[in-house]
């Protein structure tokens, strides 16, 4: 059991750490304040070769796997949760191709993503289908050499800036999860439009919107995987990205704690530094314990993906990591904000942004409740398997 990072991973992580500290941190407050998508940060990622971290070198990626992506997202999320999400989207939007794409699709979309010439998004959620993903109602009807798609997706991260849309739709209406197919649709395809752009509590730098499909004609070769077997693709996609969502939480929690501890070294009350007050020291200890526990859950889950597993038999590992790390992020942001007292509530200090940004982590990409469903199912079925 080797808990060390390879030299390659350590080198990449250190590079990202510097980038995050020098170029992303100074922009984080502004990104939140203006809600403007940080194109400059995207370009910085592109220049540093970070857009293809988890993808194979064959398609222009860095070949550092999901673990590599987790490490990078962790470093970025210490300063800016929105920027961390931008990196995550490089995997979320392309995972379906990994698990079911044709060679042509991989060359086009994975390579495009790695090179920064294409930005994608993953379109599953609908107004009537959040946790209940199998009840999506977007329809895809085969008509000759095309599929015609109709429906509305909502809460899609990155949609307003996306070049391609990976869309889950029903090719067999009444078949539940057995009637789902996945398609990739290029921006500009007639019948695909961006709808309402949401105003959110936090993570304001990444725009979230509706994606509207009205008689959208998609060439048959844009089907990803096999017709009616798309649900498995969707699940593999979500499962394999879960460790990266967890990494967002891990990074945010560390960033919050780091900032708060430094503050407590400066701030005095009752004749001593805040960090010399026992109650506050113990609060820091609680935070550190949870962060360390989350860390190893995240890295372990990432390694499982890199070993080639993303199916039902290992899903609980990803769920445990995601549920735990996202909840640690929320608790840590809460406690760290409290260490700043009144200043923690003021926008001149970053903690209130961390607090707002953290909260979505328990909801997106499978709520904490759904994660508990997955975990408990594995327990009761006997799949939970202490490797």
């Amino acid at each position: 059991m080797d808990f060390d990072l390879s030299d390659e991973l350590r080198l990449m992580r250190d590079t990202v750490r510097r980038l995050a500290r020098d170029r992303i941190a100074p922009r984080a407050a502004e990104i939140d304040e203006t809600g403007e998508y940080p194109e400059d940060i995207f370009q910085a990622f592109k220049e540093a070769g970070l857009l293809g971290l988890c993808h194979s070198e064959e398609y222009g990626g860095a070949g550092l796997g999901t673990l590599g992506l987790c490490l990078a997202v962790e470093e970025v999320a210490k300063y800016c949760c929105a920027s961390g999400l931008m990196l995550l989207l490089t995997k979320l939007s392309t995972a379906a191709f990994i698990y079911g794409g044709t060679e042509a699709q991989k060359r086009k979309y994975i390579r495009g993503t790695c090179e920064g010439t294409r930005r994608g998004c993953f379109c599953l959620t609908e107004p009537g289908a959040g946790s209940d993903a199998a009840s999506i109602s977007t329809r895809a009807e085969r008509k000759g050499d095309f599929y015609v798609l109709n429906g509305t997706k909502c809460f899609i991260s990155g949609a307003p800036v996306a070049d391609f849309f990976v869309v889950a739709a029903k090719t067999k209406a009444e078949a539940g999860h057995k009637g789902v197919s996945v398609f990739v649709i290029d921006r500009g395809t007639p019948g695909l439009s961006i709808g309402k752009i949401e105003r959110k509590m936090g993570v304001k730098g990444v725009p979230v919107s509706e994606v509207i499909l009205e008689d959208c004609r998609v060439p048959a070769e844009n089907l990803v995987g096999v017709e009616n077997e798309g649900f498995k693709l969707v699940m593999s996609s979500l499962n394999s990205v879960r460790p990266v969502v967890a990494a967002r939480g891990l990074g945010l929690a560390q960033g919050a704690l780091q900032y708060a501890v430094e503050y407590t070294r400066q701030r005095q009350a009752f004749g001593k530094r805040l960090c010399d007050h026992q109650g506050l020291r113990w609060s820091m200890a609680e935070m550190a314990m949870e962060i360390e526990a989350a860390r190893w859950l995240v890295y372990r889950a990432a390694k499982i993906v890199d070993e080639g597993h993303a199916g039902k038999e290992v899903a609980h590992y990803f769920s445990i990591a995601k549920a735990y790390a996202s909840e640690v992020a929320v608790r840590t942001a809460h406690r760290a904000l409290q260490l700043l007292g009144g200043y923690g509530y003021m926008k001149d200090y970053p903690l209130e942004r961390f607090y707002r940004d953290a909260r979505q982590l328990m909801i997106v990409e499978g709520t904490s409740e759904i994660q508990r469903e997955i975990i408990s199912r594995a327990i009761v079925d006997g799949t939970l398997n202490w490797l």
Binding site: G130, R199, K200, F270, Q338, G342, K347, I363
Partner: protein
């Protein structure tokens, strides 16, 4: 032990609730976006006498006791917190000093206008170097003939930019420190040398302004000393203590509103072919919200009653603030989760409740300080 709420108070509660749920709420988004409360809502509140809840009838207020005040604050707690804060600060820490420690002259000068909501009150204790460590004050007040000259900076003062009369705590004798060396003063907007500094941008509480107050050789007439010279710290603690129970009532009101909203939403939202309210885990979340809210409500009302009876209640008031604010925090968090993705979107009020709730565990004495107060009293009681 009679827990009945009088007919009269039930009627008043209904009136306030109709105002809050029916009228104020329709402006919630506007208040949030403009960071300003529409004047006509404040005017309506004035006409209802809400600004003078805690001011005795002889000075034009409603003269409500602590319990009755809390019954109405429960209803006000349902409204956007920024809106309530303008009034609640006025009723609580903004005027308590004058009501409890003011001379007849001071009471007659300020209270009637405050009761009518024409003059807004604020309380200025906190400084950049004195938050929880409230005895570490730097603002000084020096006697000069028939005036006091105040110098210093207060910050994080709720209602700061709109206050007409501020209760200011300053050092009058540094040697004595908090015990005998602090005094309280009533400073009016317009006194020479007094002005508003930076207005803070906050996570929530939009519509309510929080700012620095700057005293630059500020001249205060001698008759504006509030209470006895040297007794300022005790006055401050008394003012804060009274405010704690009112804050508890507001937290209870907000928690109740969230409970209603979540329960209704869970019955409407369908996933997996049924309303999410049929799922066990969601039912448990609703139950936990209800139980904690009921407990906070009972504690708040009981302590409010004790204050009306004349009991000391230092420990109890701290317990109320501590408990009710933490309950609200947990309730708001569960509410976000029950609403799922919608709970994160500004189109729904839930995310605002979440942001507004966060400050309740910090201001008016952080919950860490409240715990120290409770422990301190216990250690004395059981020495």
């Amino acid at each position: 032990m009679d827990f009945t709420v009088s007919e009269e108070m039930q009627a008043m509660k209904r009136t306030v609730r109709e105002f809050v749920d029916g009228e104020v709420d329709t402006y919630a988004r506007q208040i949030e976006e403009e960071d300003r409360v529409p004047e006509h809502l404040l005017q309506k509140a004035r006409e209802m006498g809400l600004f003078g809840m805690s001011i005795p009838e002889e000075y034009g207020g409603l003269g409500l006791g602590m319990l009755d005040r809390c019954l109405l604050l429960e209803e006000l707690g349902r409204a956007p917190a920024g809106f309530v804060t303008v009034m609640a600060t006025n009723i609580g820490i903004g005027c308590t000093g004058i009501v409890e420690m003011g001379t007849e002259g001071q009471k007659r000068k300020y209270l009637p206008a405050m009761a009518r909501g024409e003059k807004i009150g604020a309380f200025a204790l906190t400084e950049p170097e004195a938050g929880s460590d409230a005895t570490n004050l730097k603002t000084t007040a020096v006697r000069h003939g028939d005036r006091w000259i105040i110098n210093g900076v207060k910050h994080f003062i709720t209602n700061g930019p709109i206050a007409d009369v501020v209760t200011v705590i300053a050092v009058t004798d540094r040697q004595k420190g908090a015990r005998g060396g602090f005094s309280a003063f009533l400073v009016e907007k317009g006194f020479p040398g007094f002005h508003v500094g930076t207005i803070e941008k906050k996570m929530g509480l939009r519509g309510s302004q929080t700012s620095e107050l700057i005293f630059d050789n500020c001249e205060v007439p001698a008759e504006n000393l509030l209470g006895e010279e040297g007794r300022g710290y005790a006055s401050a603690l008394r003012i804060l203590g009274k405010g704690r129970v009112g804050l508890g009532a507001r937290c209870v009101g907000a928690s109740e509103k969230l409970l209603e909203m979540c329960t209704k939403y869970a019955q409407q939202r369908v996933q997996f072919g049924k309303p999410i309210a049929t799922f066990q885990a969601i039912q448990w979340m609703l139950a936990d919200i209800a139980v904690e809210t009921a407990a906070a409500k009972a504690l708040t009302r009981q302590v409010a009653w004790m204050i009306d009876q004349g009991y000391r209640c230092i420990k109890e008031a701290a317990m109320v603030k501590l408990f009710a604010s933490e309950v609200l925090g947990r309730v708001a968090d569960r509410a976000v989760q029950i609403y799922g993705g919608m709970g994160y979107m500004k189109d729904f009020p839930i995310e605002r409740f979440y942001r507004d709730a966060r400050i309740t565990r910090i201001y008016e004495g952080t919950n860490e300080i409240q715990r120290l107060v409770v422990a301190g009293e216990l250690l004395k009681e059981f020495a």
